[in-house]
Amino acid sequence: MKILSTHDLQAIMQRAENALRLREQSNKKIAEKSCGLTIGTDHLQILVCGGTGCTASSGHLIAEHLQKALEQYNIVHQVEVITTGCFGFCEKGPIVKIIPDNTFYIRVTPEDVDEIITKHIINGHRVERLLYIDPKTERVVSDSKHMDFYRKQQRIALRNCGFINPENIEEYIARHGYLALADSLLHKQPIDVIGVIKRSGLRGRGGGGFPTGLKWESAHKQAADTKYVVCNADEGDPGAFMDRSIMEGDPHSIVEAMTICGYAIGSRQGLVYIRAEYPLAIQRLKTAIAQAREYGLLGERILGTDFCFDIEIRYGAGAFVCGEETALIHSMEGNRGEPTLKPPFPAEAGYLGKPTNVNNVETLANIPIILTKGAEWFSSIGTERSKGTKVFALAGKINNVGLIEVPMGTTLREVIYDIGGGIKGGKKFKAVQTGGPSGGCLTEKHLDTPIDFDNLLAAGSMMGSGGMIVMDEDDCMVSVARFYLDFTVEESCGKCTPCRIGNKRLLETLNRITQGCGTEKDLETLSTLGHVIKDTALCGLGQTSPNPVLSTLNNFYDEYLEHVKDKTCRSKQCKALLTYSINPEKCIGCHLCFKHCPADAIIGDVRKPHVIDPNKCIKCGMCMARCKFKAINVC
């Protein structure tokens, strides 16, 4: 059916609210007892995470097996299986949540399904072995609201992820979805919509942090017959998956926000530029677009007004530079994704030479809720110059890998130790990398810095799109810098000399250092050349590419010095600087290392201490991994 008024929308909202009521209620109250069909309730819902991480570890099979089990026990009418978007707690996936008692099961396998059904769903007893154990208190926590991982989070952009079925438009509507669109089209002038966004203080979440309202305003002011709204979903930062999770978990929020933007700037056509490597996100987005058209929320005469707007999908093909808006536009036109000088800004001359407004996925996900809850509500969250929340993909050497959303101003310490649960294996924290290949490494001394756009920049890193990689004492900062440079050199489009040649020289220098051939002079070169590239490169990629090198030089100069002067690597990562040897006192001559050494570098008879031939050793570490007696030393 086509929705023609706010009244129609509210009717659907009421209808769909019933389906969501169970979840809304359990979201509010604290579950004390577990429920099952024989005690406590006659209706249950089983939420299964359908994000890429959980799907990769057979999450889809879990949903299938659950459905089959419901049929087998003849309880299909009392229990629903719902595949949702990402819950965020990827470390513990696949995740299954039982509503109404809010039981949060972790690391579920398809083999666990039968027990969940018979024990919990039918008889109301939790399956203890699948519950989360708080590593600090060592107590079982069955309700996710009590987990440290969730307690300090505030979910705005991720409000529907892990809560609604992303392939059901009515569940989105029940969460006040498309209300902002209806209100804008029926009761607001475009300039008023822009006014709300400007007052909210929302800044672009893709990395630059440019005020979104101002961007909309400049596109609005252009007089042109055709304008475009572009959603930048080319999440290229390695180790970041915020945008993907939003598109997989709440695709309608993007469709709604783009349509609102179209109304605000005077455009009839939207384009989503998305990575081809995100098949699930593409499929969910396509479903959402088709459903919105069917309901009259996209296409001709939206909500019965004269406003028309539609969305097309364009595929990226794996080029990091295409996150830069001018490069992205060239790529959408079917060309190599090379950036061009600004001005002209895309708001003046973008896609096909027409005024174009480019926003990132997370930025757009904030738009509908800002319009329904008001600019004042949004601007009351966060710091003075960075409003709202930010989604981070927390990964690396941290206990709780996952997707988190915190108010701006939260400190790195809170994120890493409270939400992230500290460093894996009780190791010592060394650095946290924010901003991906364009950002820098922050250290112990930055842990109490409140996270916002300006503070991170002042600390020598940047917000970036939200990748946050935690490193411990085993990570060599020189190799990390080399890793990022390797990425930049491969992804440089080659158009401007500083980026094409300068970064190549930086990488060569770093390679020399990690291979034990570096000199102190090389450290000077890194710093001088790095600053030249920053000052002279054409686009954002080039201008920020030396950041990983400069920030590690700044914060870990000692480590660089050890590499070039003492030719040692304290984290034991730089292979060329390592020597493997066997401790004759510990070696019992079990011959295991001998059998597994790929280079035949180990000499020795059974039951006698072995030795490593340094000329043959390829330093692969296989002997160390195999040895059961800790007899292999590396220095």
Partner: protein
């Protein structure tokens, strides 16, 4: 460039893809995505054909194909192996994994074994960082791998 000739049937499919997109140069990337899907790679003849259909220079098609990492001009193996080199996987040891795959298979990144069974590539983040380090072989995702697991995985596939 290679000297592979396109089978008639494949050529017809490529033409149909171009027609479907109105033979518009602006649709080049979408066309290449679909064309690569046919055989898993984009041989020279296919690029020539697309250039001809879209009435643009072959150099332009080649320029786009070589610019984007998603497009490839070498055929993939029966089991295409992709090692995730995202930062999260890197700090959890994906470089060592990659070294081990190279050693066991005897090929470099971007190459295919002579028997056509395995090809080796890197990719940038599949977003399953909770499972790091991650390797994808065909459609199957292998998570939390260590280099000692590599040999067994290859042997099982063989």
């Amino acid at each position: 460039m290679s000297e592979i000739k396109l089978a008639c049937e494949v050529a017809e499919q490529v033409k149909a893809i171009c027609d479907k997109h109105g033979n518009l140069p602006g649709e080049l990337i979408n066309i290449l995505h679909e064309a690569q899907h046919l055989q898993g790679y984009l041989p020279e003849e296919m690029q020539r054909l697309i250039a001809h259909k879209l009435n643009i220079p072959v150099s332009k098609v080649y320029g786009v194909v070589t610019f984007y990492t998603f497009f490839t001009m070498t055929p993939k193996g029966k089991y295409p192996i992709s090692v995730c080199m995202g930062t999260a996987c890197y700090v959890r040891g994906s470089e060592k994994l990659l070294e081990e795959f190279k050693r066991v298979l005897g090929i470099e990144v971007g190459e295919t074994t002579p028997d056509g069974k395995f090809s080796l590539d890197c990719l940038r983040c599949v977003g399953a960082c909770g499972l790091a380090p991650v390797v994808i072989i065909g459609e199957k995702v292998y998570g939390r791998l260590q280099s000692v697991d590599v040999k067994k995985i290859i042997e099982d596939l063989e």
